[in-house]
Amino acid sequence: MSKQKQIVLAIPPEAAYISLARLTASGLANQLGFDMDAIEDIKVCVSEVLNETISTSSDIKEPITLCFDLTKDGFEVLISRDMLQQSALFTSETGQFALSILETLMDRVILSNDNAGTICLSKTTGRSVPHG
């Protein structure tokens, strides 16, 4: 138990597999003891990151990796893929909706500058979720 626990999911970079990632994320969140509202938030946010990753780089065929690090009271998920291009994320109208959603529903959102393809979300069970 010395190592931090980790769940990794890799999917093809296609919209058809986003629902599978949502399902796995919700099952994990459920197991970690998040309440129903938080599980819904996590599903939404994981989806939004995948949407953005997939729609801004449709020419890339490398898998997308979701790496969930289980923390004491929640998790951190690192979503990444090999990016051949450095397209800016969350700039379109729907991308801006997505970013507002992420920033509101997650405890922390990190978009790494050195690699446009890595996004980190974190959320803990301790904090109550804002309801609008």
Binding site: A15, I18, E93, L105
Partner: protein
Amino acid sequence: MYQFSIDRETDAPKMVLTISGEIDLFAAPEFREKLYEAVSDVSADVVLNCRDLSYIDSSGLGILLGALKRVRQNSHQVYIRYLKDSIKKLFIITGLDKAFVLEDVQ
């Protein structure tokens, strides 16, 4: 994954569309096509009944906004009814609660 059905209420001047299921990036292209077709050239207010909409993401929200723009071109409004709390939250976060008329009539 998602269903989309259209009913025009017989006793009302509004056009009522029922949206159900999950609308995500995968469902988006078909949803966009069907919704835009449904609201094109409509000369009435549009009501979206979302009682059985279980999930929608930003791509779906963008399509709803596109439909709103089309309806507004004809000087009409879009009413959205019976959103689940988890989805209403997304409207509030993105400010779309101000663009549409959200209704919770029971």
